[in-house]
């Protein structure tokens, strides 16, 4: 049970007078996958940072299950827009370190778990001993995703998680995300920022379109799960939703 609520949120960054978010009200129900889309600079990352507890709103309240969020915590896994691995730890250490914060297991068990999740995101054993600076951009991003997945938090907060990887890997990671989402007793609550409309539709229960720090549109995605990404795009509803979203997003340029 992890419902996230944004109540009358305003965000103004220091030294600017520009409202990054303006009067935002949004509820993400427990177990839902919600995508945030919108032109760049519209406030997607800002919204996610609020949910993670890393940013305090200038005014308004961010709550989880009715409780005000006071800071970040292990109950919410986060993937950042720019892969934020610790450069002084190897890839494997980045994962095992995160895991150790969650569970007091023996070292071997933790290492095994870490190696498994890395393999699932497509990184082999040789890569595990490298430092992040020795990896390509997409590989670093996958390590960051693996780090969040392995923590198995009830809430996933992901900021453009798949933008740096190729299409195949992206599909695989999407499938992995959906699998992990369903696993466990209760479904996870997922808030994912993306700029890929197809990805948003495929993954989400709801797609929220932001523009200039305000909600432009909040669209329910009706397709049954499990979805087949090569089938749903043939459906009529898909074309309509895609069209609506495109229109909503592109409003800026008319």
């Amino acid at each position: 049970m992890s419902t996230i609520t944004f109540e009358d949120i305003n965000v103004v960054y220091e030294k600017t007078e520009h409202y990054a978010l303006k009067n935002l009200n949004l509820e993400i129900q427990s177990g839902q996958i919600v995508s945030l889309i919108g032109p760049s600079g519209c406030g997607k990352s800002t919204t996610l940072n609020l949910a993670s507890g890393l940013l305090k709103p200038t005014s308004g309240h961010v709550k989880i299950n009715g409780q005000e969020i006071t800071g970040p915590g292990l109950d919410r896994g986060v993937v950042f827009q720019s892969y934020s691995l610790f450069p002084w730890m190897t890839v494997l250490e980045n994962i095992t370190f995160a895991l150790q914060q969650k569970e007091k297991e023996r070292k071997e068990i933790i290492t095994k778990k870490a190696a498994e999740i890395l393999k699932k995101v497509g990184l082999n054993e040789k890569v595990q001993k490298s430092f992040p600076s020795q990896l390509s951009g997409g590989m670093q991003q996958r390590v960051a995703i693996a780090r969040m997945f392995v923590l198995d938090a009830p809430v996933f907060l992901m900021d453009e998680p798949f933008s740096a990887v190729d299409e195949i890997t992206r599909n695989q990671l999407q499938d992995l995300l959906l699998k992990l989402w369903e696993e466990g007793e209760t479904k996870k609550t997922v808030l994912v920022v993306t700029h890929n409309i197809d990805e948003a539709i495929f993954l989400s229960d709801r797609v929220v379109v932001l523009r200039d720090g305000q909600i432009q549109q909040d669209i329910l995605i009706p397709f049954k799960r499990p979805r087949d990404r090569f089938k749903i795009d043939q459906e009529e509803a898909y074309t309509k939703i895609r069209h609506d979203l495109l229109k909503a997003v592109s409003g800026e340029y008319n």
Partner: protein, 307 residues
């Protein structure tokens, strides 16, 4: 073999041989340059060859060794020419190479006894500065209120010449040894503290944010994130602290003690025994090179994650 003999090594060896020839056959002003000088030049050349063979696959290091060796030869020959050979420079301020080597031979064991006293003093002072400066720096950086109080205090106190504390140290601390240690400590403390403070303040916020989402306990946060992330800056602080503590060694060792390499140099200065002064300086330079090399190796290893 081709790796060893290249244009750099040939130039250097040529230079070395010319140098030895010069000091051997050029007529001296007073006494001869002495066998020891020639042996020393030869030892230098052999040392050079050793390093060239050691670095035979590292072009850059090989070239650097060669460059440095040539510079040393040039300086030494110039020195010998101006003192022993031509007598241009006064032997009071500029003792001949020969005199310095003889001094080395005479004081060899004594120097090492002095060295051990200095190392003990340095180690305890710098160690204290490290175990106080780093935690305090980290703590102050994490606690803005403390930072805003400590930063101006550091700004005011750090540039005060540590030597003015000597009378107070002598009056307050229980022993001369403690006073000496305190002077070394205070010299090393400020750079370590300030660099730690700045290092922690300048950590890329992405790492802090990333760590916060893992819900780290404060202690883990410090140990695993803040400390390694600010390590580059901390290392700079320790390096500057080390340099300052070396500089303060002479002053610290003249507080009621009669041991230490700084004492040796200071005493020689007071007596106007410049052969000894130069012997001491070269010895210090030698020791410092070793300490700094070890220190840099450690730094490079611990910071190997930087690209």
């Amino acid at each position: 073999m081709k790796n060893v003999i290249d244009r750099y090594s040939i130039t250097t060896i040529f230079f070395g041989i010319i140098s030895i020839a010069l000091i051997t056959f050029f007529p001296s002003q007073e006494t001869d340059s002495g066998l020891s000088t020639k042996l020393f030049f030869s030892a230098l050349l052999i040392g050079y060859l050793y390093f060239t063979i050691l670095y035979k696959n590292d072009y850059v290091k090989k070239r650097a060794t060669s460059d440095i060796t040539i510079i040393i030869f040039l300086l030494l020959v110039l020195w010998e020419l101006l003192t022993q050979k031509l007598g241009v420079l006064s032997t009071f301020l500029y003792p001949s190479l020969h005199a310095v080597i003889e001094q080395f031979k005479a004081d060899g064991i004594e120097l090492f006894i002095h060295l051990s006293a200095s190392i003990k003093l340095l180690a305890s002072g710098v160690f204290l500065a490290i175990i106080l400066g780093i935690p305090l720096g980290i703590y102050a950086a994490m606690n803005k209120r403390l930072e805003f109080v400590l930063r101006p205090i550091a700004n005011v106190l750090s540039p005060i010449p540590p030597i003015v504390w000597i009378p107070y140290a002598v009056a307050i601390l229980p022993s001369f040894q403690a006073s000496s240690t305190f002077i070394i400590f205070i010299g090393a403390f400020w750079p370590i503290f300030i660099n730690t403070l700045n290092g922690v303040t300048n950590i890329d916020q992405r790492y802090i944010k990333s760590a916060q989402t893992l819900g780290l306990k404060p202690w883990t946060m410090i140990r695993k994130i803040i400390f390694p992330a600010s390590l580059p800056s901390i290392f700079t602080g320790i390096q500057v602290g080390l340099i300052l503590s070396f500089i303060l060694l002479t002053a610290a060792e003249m507080i009621g003690s009669s041991a230490g390499i700084g004492y040796y140099v200071k005493l020689a200065t007071d007596y106007g025994n410049y052969a000894k002064v130069i012997t001491g300086i070269i010895f210090i330079g030698f020791i410092v090179t070793i300490i700094m090399t070890v220190f840099n190796k450690l730094e490079n290893y611990l910071l190997r994650w930087r690209n």
